[in-house]
Symmetry: C2
């Protein structure tokens, strides 16, 4: 593990950078990676960003001003990547080739020659900001947009429990540096696809309550996805829906996969352990959030899951 200053020195002493994002890129890997790329270019170096998947169009304000440079990369640096496999298809080809990993995941796997990992940071963007400061790169409006995007998306716009005072301080600084939070927040947090609206409607229609409204189930079948044309991205955050309902202590999402099995996400409040519920079916996770899988038919899966939830509920009362 190296310090922010050591990471800055590594970047200063090298050139021809390829900044690697994780697959299915989210706001934090995108914001962190493009910010680092721009900072390196501002230092007179050559730098590109590389991702196994295309960056979603909602991030056009980050990708539009970016131009690809033509050079042979000599230094690979990853942002917000916890393991090689998360680079996506071909990710393991990078084994032994990555010089520096900048990350904030407690589960970071140390695949790089040098790792700068701050597990207490809510976002990788905050770690990148510290590196930019060590490099004495002034934060311009583009960098501010990138880093605000990383911080705000990884904290659910400062709503999730990982939000720290440092997140708010960094956000204030990014706003003072010219971050266009109106545009960013609208694109990230105030836009739902037509498919999302349609599948949300179908999900709400099928929402089931048990145990006096303390347990709620939602089910997402392949047929619902086909009928509403909902893609993976349209289902983001959907597993928090049943537990959001007032009075619900255990919220379960049953989601059919391509094999016709049901992946289950359990979310619970207070002392009720989602992990303990899921462990009964070979799954696991944390107290408030866990997962498991059922290979039986939906009705049987629901019955077994409900029995486990009801038992957990009565134990907690």
């Amino acid at each position: 593990m190296i310090t922010v200053q050591q990471a800055a020195r590594l970047l200063q002493e090298n050139d021809r950078f390829e900044v690697l994002l994780h697959a299915y890129p989210d706001g934090d890997t995108i914001g962190s990676g493009y910010a680092l790329c721009r900072a390196l270019r501002l230092l007179g170096k050559q730098a590109n960003v590389r991702c196994a998947h295309p960056v979603p169009p909602a991030y056009a304000y980050i990708t539009d001003p970016y131009t690809h440079q033509d050079f042979e990369p000599a230094f690979f640096v990853s942002t917000d990547v916890a393991s090689l496999s998360l680079l996506g298809p071909g990710g393991t080809d990078y084994a032994g080739k990555i010089e520096l990993a900048i990350d904030h995941h407690g589960t970071h796997e140390r695949f790089a020659a040098h790792s700068l990992v701050q597990a207490d940071a809510a976002s990788c963007a905050e770690v990148v900001l510290a590196v930019l400061d060590a490099l004495a790169v002034p934060v311009d409006a583009y960098l501010a947009n990138c880093l605000y995007t990383g911080i705000s998306t990884d904290t659910g716009c400062f709503k999730y429990t990982n939000t720290t005072a440092a997140c708010h301080l960094a956000a204030a600084r990014m706003m003072q540096a010219g971050a266009d939070i109106e545009q960013i927040n609208q694109a990230m947090f105030d836009t739902k696809s037509r498919a999302r609206i349609a599948i949300e409607r179908a999900i709400l229609e099928g929402m089931e309550f048990f145990a006096d409204g303390k347990i709620a189930f939602i089910t997402i079948t392949n047929r619902m996805r086909q009928e509403t044309h909902a893609e993976e991205g349209d289902l983001e955050g959907i597993t928090s829906l049943p537990r959001q309902v007032e009075g619900v202590l255990i919220g379960c999402t049953l989601r059919e996969n391509e094999q016709g099995e049901y992946r289950v996400s359990v979310r619970s409040r207070g002392p009720i352990s989602s992990a303990a519920i899921c462990a009964q079916f070979g799954g696991g996770g944390h107290t408030g959030a866990a997962g498991c899988r059922f290979t039986c038919d939906l009705a049987t899966a629901k019955q077994q899951l409900l029995a486990a939830c009801t038992a957990a509920l009565s134990q907690a009362q």
Copy 2:
């Protein structure tokens, strides 16, 4: 208009305070009022909070530690109240009796002997924080919870366009002072009533799209409200729903009132003026958000509204 220091002096020189909240109290008037009350008590003074309506149970973390004191009020101070009528039933009885109004509304009506109004503040809580600082009252965890509640609810958890760098700086300070943002954010932003879930489902079922998906209408009838048992509070923020849909430039909410008339809220993106659309029907507002009223039947109202929206759309293109 007086300064923060002058307001602090007024509070220091007086005693037996009644802190007035606005009717149908929201997070900002509640957080601001209870924070001010506690600060005055910390200064050894007598102080109570008064509101025309009960504080919703979601704010129990603010109201539970509060105890009513028995005394005859001698100094009335309002928080987050833009006009006397907003005090609710009996509000005009306070005419000429309110010594100090602390507020952040640009439309503040100066009903008090002294007004401390900071129209550039996103929340009244930020103005109260400045007063507490001038009074040299240290921010404890209770005050931090109150003020974080005011700032976060008035900015939609730092998502709305009124959010400033000052909001983030104040939020960071409240977190450092012990604000329990996990509990507050869960209660304020991560809980939906059963009635809200039910009426949202009904609203989504009836959502209509026009002009290639650029115009969306939702309708809320009295019958829908009766069938879902939705109260006023269950409909909070619902008018932003149609415009949240990807591709929608004009989102309209038609809502039946007790007289069977339809109140319309229009929300638009970019250069399209909601105010200009509503002005055609005797209404008004801002570019991005405006309102009007139809006394005709629903089908006719929709037809007229759609014609105005379509015209506004083609003008903007």
